[in-house]
């Protein structure tokens, strides 16, 4: 019971379908997950695997509309975002859940000063006065390690570098002290040295504030070491999820294994051929029957092409769960043989 109270986010069998002129596209197809306060979940997958749509569905940004169908439950702090009225949902955004976007160039309003970006949210949700909002905003900027926060308050976004802008975006998201932060590829638009700083900042802020965080990324390196658990998505489904170290050391799903193998390692000899995954993700208008990875899987047999594998616990004997959706999971023993 105590554990249930701790749950910040619970997602049960969420399916998001977009009606397009060429037919329905099931971008997210039956994903479940849960997140406790202070826990960090990484969602990885290649482009088009549904990870961003999942993030937006969880927030309630993608919701039922004439062209979109969402089924399943997304409970944030016990309330299902998809059954709330729009203005109730707005109450949730900010104090309960906040989002950091991919591109800091477009996520700040070019004609608004940095300060107003942050103070507006504070004044709207917390109803604090002008002076106090200003002080709190300065404090937030300091927390995201922006030098000279008082001076930055009166600057415009174009006067800041990309990394600084992303810090401002993070400060905005943190303004109302959310219980859940969703970071949708927060570092994709930044250069490599800044990427690490931003990721470390997010990780330390999450720990400090005991905030649940979802880090969506296609960069496995970004997720490794900074998340407690990781979910690997492929074609709208979770194919594997467990503690981050388990997934990285012992992937059970051939897709996760192939994805990990395709990361270039700095310790590799020069000119090592990169192990790319053959083929491309399936067309979501007409996904293959059975396991969706089967057409690209080197271990696929007839059963894989006919019968869709369920997500099941493959941990065998150990305490923590290791869910995988594969008929023939790569257990450590088999990996050694193969």
């Amino acid at each position: 019971m105590n554990q249930d109270n701790d749950l910040v986010l619970e997602v049960r069998d969420v399916r998001t379908t977009f009606l397009t002129p060429r037919g329905p596209v099931r971008a997210v197809d039956g994903v479940s997950m849960s997140l406790r306060a202070g826990e960090t979940l990484g969602i990885v997958g290649e482009s088009g695997s549904g990870k961003s749509v999942l993030g937006r569905t969880v927030m309630g940004l993608v919701s039922n509309s004439p062209t979109t169908t969402v089924t399943g439950e997304c409970l944030i702090d016990g309330r299902d975002v998809h059954t709330l009225k729009p203005n109730q949902r707005r109450q949730l955004w900010g104090p309960e859940v906040a989002m950091v976007f991919q591109d800091p160039m477009t996520s700040l309003n070019p004609v608004k000063r940095v300060g107003r970006h942050i103070t507006e949210a504070l004044r709207l949700h917390l109803g604090v006065g002008k002076k106090e909002a200003h002080d709190r905003a300065v404090e937030l900027l300091r927390q995201v390690s922006i030098p000279e926060p008082v001076r930055r308050m009166t600057q415009y976004p174009h006067e800041l570098s990309g990394g600084m802008r992303q810090r401002v975006v993070i400060a905005m998201a943190l303004a109302c002290d959310p219980k859940l932060l969703i970071a949708d590829e927060p570092t994709t638009a930044l250069d490599v040295t800044v990427q690490k700083q931003i990721l470390d900042l997010l990780a330390s802020l999450a720990t400090e504030r005991n905030m649940a965080t979802i880090l969506i990324s296609h960069d496995l390196g970004a997720v490794e070491g900074r998340t407690d658990r990781v979910a690997v998505m492929y074609a709208g489904r979770t194919v594997e999820t467990s503690r981050t170290s388990r997934v990285f050391n012992n992937p059970v799903h051939p897709y996760a294994d192939a994805l990990l193998a395709s990361i270039p390692r700095i310790a590799d000899d020069p000119h090592t051929v990169l192990r790319a995954i053959d083929g491309s993700p399936p067309n979501m208008l007409n996904p293959p029957d059975g396991c969706r990875f089967a057409p690209r899987c080197r271990f696929a047999v007839d059963r894989c092409r006919e019968e869709s594998p369920e997500l099941r616990d493959l941990a065998d004997g150990t305490d923590d769960t290791h869910l995988g959706a594969c008929h023939f999971p790569l257990l450590p023993a088999r990996q050694e043989v193969g």
Binding site: A98, S107, E120, L124, M172, C176
Partner: protein, 345 residues
């Protein structure tokens, strides 16, 4: 070394200064000669005067370079001087010692159709009723500027808001607004204005209202297109995620961004509306005589008056030309500064 360079720089400057001064003097001389000489035909006079003007212009630019050390946009500066001067004079017209502009009873003793003579009571001449042309032109500027500014303000506020609403809500709202804007655009502007004048009194307020109808559709389109572009940026979503409702998003996030291109478009529209107002007044559908506007002043040249007394048409024509030209330059500058995309078109 630095002193050498400085000296070289200085001689160069002096040379530019002397050259500029010489061009200015020669240009002025040419202009005066071309204007006053009785021996040449009109075409030759015109060539001399225009050549003089060009020389004076070049001379002044050189002088400015020599004195200030950097180039300025002289044409733009002159245009701004004209506009600011015109606005000030128009505002203060009732206080200035100008001749009579509309009361014929007071001009019974004044000469009629007098040609422009500087340094007299009527520097720009008088019309067929002895009314002072300078005074009439300045009072005409009052009406012209007032009507066009009012019409552009109405058009910008109304058209801009409708455009932002259409661009943000899209769907049904957008289609309905689209049908209306296209309908208004489909009617030829002059015919629409003539039709309106059949049931509206030609008062200043009604003129402004009628002319604003011409600006609204293009304002709607511009505001709508810009809103659509900005609404897709993530800062709009970020604002929504911070709990802003739709009106707050429009007012706080979109309008400040959309206002820049809309505003620069508005400046361009002022000149178009001055011309439109003048055309209506010329046709007798605008402000009525004896109250002067540039359009009805030009119309006084009908029926042979222009052949005998060209200044009747040339004076208001010059005011109209210079003002429209200056507003166009200003609009171009505004677009370069605030709306880089349409400036390149």
């Amino acid at each position: 070394m630095p002193s050498d360079k400085f000296r070289a720089d200085k001689t160069k400057r002096t040379r530019t200064l002397v050259l500029g001064g010489a061009m200015l003097v020669v240009g002025l001389a040419l202009m005066v000669f071309g204007w006053s000489t009785p021996t040449l035909v009109l075409a030759a006079k015109a060539v001399l005067v225009l050549g003089g003007v060009a020389l004076v212009f070049q001379g002044i630019s050189r002088l400015v370079v020599a004195i200030r050390g950097k180039r300025i946009d002289l044409l733009f500066t002159l245009a701004m001087i004209w506009l600011v001067g015109l606005c000030i004079v128009a505002l203060l017209a009732p206080l200035l010692p100008l001749g009579e502009h509309n009361d014929v009873a007071k001009t019974l003793l004044e000469p009629t159709n007098m040609s422009p003579k500087l340094l007299t009571d009527h520097p720009l001449g008088t019309n067929n009723q002895g009314l002072d042309m300078l005074s009439r032109s300045i009072h005409g500027a009052r009406t012209s500027l007032m009507i066009s500014l009012l019409a552009v303000s109405i058009g910008t506020v109304v058209g801009g808001s409708i455009g932002v609403i259409a661009g943000y809500f899209r769907k049904g709202t957008d289609s309905v607004i689209g049908i209306f804007t296209n309908a208004v655009l489909a009617v030829p502007p002059l015919i629409l204005l003539i039709a309106l004048s059949t049931f509206l009194d030609p008062s200043l307020r009604n003129m402004a209202f009628a002319l604003s109808l011409l600006t609204i559709p293009s304002m709607v389109r511009l505001a709508r297109a810009n809103t659509i572009a900005f609404a897709q940026r993530e800062f709009v979503m970020a604002a929504r995620l911070m709990g802003a409702n739709r009106f707050r998003v429009m007012a706080r996030e979109l309008v400040p961004n959309v206002i820049l291109p809309v505003f620069s478009m508005a400046v361009v529209m002022i000149s178009a509306l001055i011309v439109a107002e003048a055309s209506l007044s010329f046709l007798g559908l605008g402000i009525q005589q004896p109250d002067p506007t540039w359009g009805n002043m030009v119309a006084e040249g009908e029926g042979g008056a222009m052949e005998d007394y060209p200044h009747i048409v040339l004076v208001p024509g010059a005011f109209l030309f210079l003002t429209v030209f200056a507003f166009n330059l200003l609009g171009e500058k505004a677009q370069q500064r605030w709306d880089t995309r349409s400036a390149k078109l």
